[in-house]
């Protein structure tokens, strides 16, 4: 259900990016935290950086905020090279991962800090701060010292403090991590609404892929200092460009194999893991002898007790495990080769066809479903 801004500027070669990273590298001594990253983010986008802990998300954000100087490369905001511009002169606000709230001020003073700094008239400050606190549901906490707030409340103060200045670019480092599920969802939609209303460009760091899917116009998946893939949530999910991305977003079954049939319209991959071949309904570009992987999402595999009609893309196995999650169930099926395959099925009817542990089942999938990745 990814959020879309008008059009898809990243597909338009003439569109002017609002933020541009040109081959940015950041080294700490010998260690490369961000490795030759080039990235374009367009106005009014919500771009989510997604990646495992320590992959360089915060470092990238800090370089955009001006707190860290790149070892190499240039950073442009709104067409201007800001690589050497100090933080207080960038049209950017950042919400810090550790919130960085001022302990000697109360909630209201924290939120008003940036506006006072900009010499906004007093009455206007009061109004904007009150409205912002209302939005993050902290109206009644205005006079509290930040030391007396819960983690989630602090997070919301930090969010309010960054948002109240209405920056052109807002950097959010794990903005919703400490919120409970309900408030998180609520705030996610608030963020999207705000983005529509104020025209802010968001760069959001998160390691929650569901959050990225909900918020993002595009997602950048980071892997050890590099951007492994950037694209819309659907692109990333349906067409991952590597095992890493396929595995990182959602869950996936990977079958290692080699090309045995290479046609422009389809390919066939022989995989020992599946004990047969996989028919893929689109052509690929790969060296004939290279090892490849067919990636198959759990929800794209059908499971039945009786033999299916198709002859290609069928496998047999024994259900080893069933997990009932309410809206759907997860099945783990063991193939004769020993390979475990993960399948999800929505629980459509209350008393569906019983597939229980140790049932012998057929698995089948459409030729359009597998994605072939070469690394």
């Amino acid at each position: 259900m990814g959020h879309r801004s008008a059009g898809e500027p990243w597909n338009d070669p003439d569109a002017r990016p609002y933020v541009e990273l040109r081959r940015v590298t950041k080294k700490y001594g010998e260690f490369t935290a961000v490795d030759d990253v080039s990235l374009k983010i367009y106005e009014r986008e919500i771009f989510c950086l997604l990646g495992a802990s320590g992959c360089g998300k915060t470092t990238l954000l800090r370089m955009l905020g001006g707190f860290e100087a790149p070892t190499a490369g240039r950073i442009l905001i709104d067409g201007e090279d800001v690589t050497d511009v100090p933080p207080y002169e960038r049209p950017v606000n950042m919400m810090f991962q550790s919130y960085a709230l001022f302990p000697h001020m109360n909630v209201e003073q924290n939120v008003a800090f940036g506006l006072k700094q900009d010499r906004v008239p007093k009455a206007q400050i009061r109004e904007r701060v009150a409205a912002m606190l209302e939005m993050v549901q902290l109206g009644e906490y205005a006079k509290r010292k930040v030391g007396q707030l819960s983690g989630g409340q602090r997070q919301r103060v930090a969010l309010a403090r960054a948002l109240v200045k209405r920056p052109k670019l807002l950097l959010l480092d794990e903005p919703l991590g400490a919120l409970d599920k309900k408030l998180r969802e609520h705030t996610q939609f608030e963020l999207i609404g705000l983005q529509d209303k104020l025209g802010v460009t968001f760069l959001v760091v998160t390691h929650d892929q569901e959050e990225a899917m909900t918020l993002a116009s595009r997602i950048g998946v980071m892997e050890r200092g590099t951007i492994a893939q950037a694209g819309t949530p659907a692109e990333i999910y349906e067409y991952p460009n590597s095992k890493f991305v396929a595995d990182f977003i959602g869950s996936v079954n990977l079958f290692e194999g080699r090309l045995v049939e290479d046609e422009p319209e389809h390919v066939r991959i022989a995989s020992e893991e599946i004990g047969g071949t996989i028919l893929v309904g689109h052509g690929i570009s790969s060296a004939p002898d290279a090892t490849l992987w067919a990636a198959l999402r759990p929800e794209k595999i059908a499971m039945s007790l009786g033999a299916p009609a198709q002859t290609d893309n069928v496998a047999r196995g024994v259900v080893q495990d069933v997990a009932y999650l309410g809206d759907l169930s997860i099945y783990v099926v063991r193939l004769p080769t020993g390979k475990l395959v993960r399948i999800t099925r929505p629980n459509l009817a209350r008393h569906a066809e019983p597939v229980e542990r140790d049932s012998e089942v057929y698995l089948c999938w459409d030729a359009a479903s597998p994605v072939v990745v070469t690394r």
Binding site: G65, G66, F67, P86, P87, Y88, V92, N93, M94, F96, S98, A100, L101, F102, P103, H104, F113, G114, Q117, D118, K145, G147, R161, K165
Partner: protein, 303 residues
């Protein structure tokens, strides 16, 4: 069973209160008791005796218990301008010394707190290094520097910057240099401890919200190091008020300080009661300072 529990509990409570009592016992033995003795002497009458004052409480021949409180020692302080001047001068010197020490010590502490981990250790070591020699020796070293034919004058003379030796020794300048120099570590260490704990991201956040570095310092770093500044001020102000050695050796005979008067009354005039009265009055001035400090600090910490 119940009785045993109760007895255990009673034992537990008593050992706990014993631990709690220790600091109080310490205070009573080394602060309250001496204070009472000094208070007693300050109310006695001077006498040519050993000790050189008359006892406060006496059995007279008619078997009457006589308690004589001599308030003249306190009144003496108001009868001579000397005391009042010395008193004000002491407070002034202590205040200015505190200001100078902070002005020099704060940037140093800030620099150390921002230095790399290895440099930090070396710098801290350098700060406490002077403690390895006696303070008296170090003050005499300053005398050697400031003398008419001392190192500073002879260097300047030989460089031709000056043609006659400057009067450095026995000036207020020399005295302030001595005091600030001596108390600098007491300023740097608490400030360092405070600044080292400061979350640098707060300063970054302030800059992110539009503050130039100096504004971020003024609005974030400075208010958050208030407790360090207060502690450092107390550590300079209180001992500097009663400072005796440095004003004598560097400030010369014109530097009228309470510590000096106290010394003269005690050892020169052997007037213990007046000396004690001076000490009590000084305490009466400094204790409110201390209380104000504690209340400000506790107000800060529950914030």
């Amino acid at each position: 069973m119940q009785g045993l529990l109760r007895r255990l509990e009673r034992a537990g409570v008593s050992s706990r209160s014993l631990v709690l009592a220790l600091p109080y016992l310490w205070l009573i033995a080394f602060f309250v008791a001496p204070f009472l003795i000094v208070l007693k002497i300050s109310l006695s009458h001077t006498a040519l005796a050993i000790p050189p004052y008359k006892p406060l409480i006496e059995w007279t021949s008619r078997s009457v218990l006589e308690i004589r409180l001599d308030l003249r020692n306190y009144l003496a302080m108001f009868s001579h301008r000397l005391y009042g001047d010395a008193f004000l001068n002491s407070l002034k010197v202590a205040f200015l010394s505190t200001v100078f020490s902070l002005a020099i010590g704060y940037p140093m502490a800030y620099g150390i707190a921002r230095a790399g981990a290895r440099a930090r250790g070396v710098l801290l070591l350098l700060v406490v290094l002077p403690f390895w020699t006696s303070q008296l020796l170090r003050i005499y070293a300053w005398v050697g520097l400031f003398k008419a034919n001392g190192l500073i004058n002879s260097t300047l003379l030989s460089l031709g910057v000056i043609h006659q030796p400057l009067t450095l020794l026995f000036t207020p300048f020399a005295m302030y240099v001595g005091i600030v120099y001596s108390y600098l570590p007491y300023v740097i260490l608490p400030l360092y401890a405070n600044l080292e704990k400061l979350d640098w991201q707060l300063v970054e956040a302030a800059q992110d919200l539009g503050c130039r570095p100096w504004q971020a310092f003024y609005k974030v770093t400075l208010p958050l190091s208030r407790n360090g500044i207060l502690a450092a001020s107390m550590l300079v102000f209180i001992p500097a008020t009663g400072e005796f050695v440095i004003p004598t050796l560097l400030g010369g005979p014109n530097s009228l300080m309470m510590g000096r008067i106290l010394w003269d009354e005690f050892f020169g005039n052997r007037d213990w009661p007046v000396a004690s009265a001076i000490a009590i009055v000084m305490l009466l001035v400094l204790v409110p300072c201390m209380m104000a400090y504690l209340s400000i600090q506790s107000r800060g910490s529950d914030a």
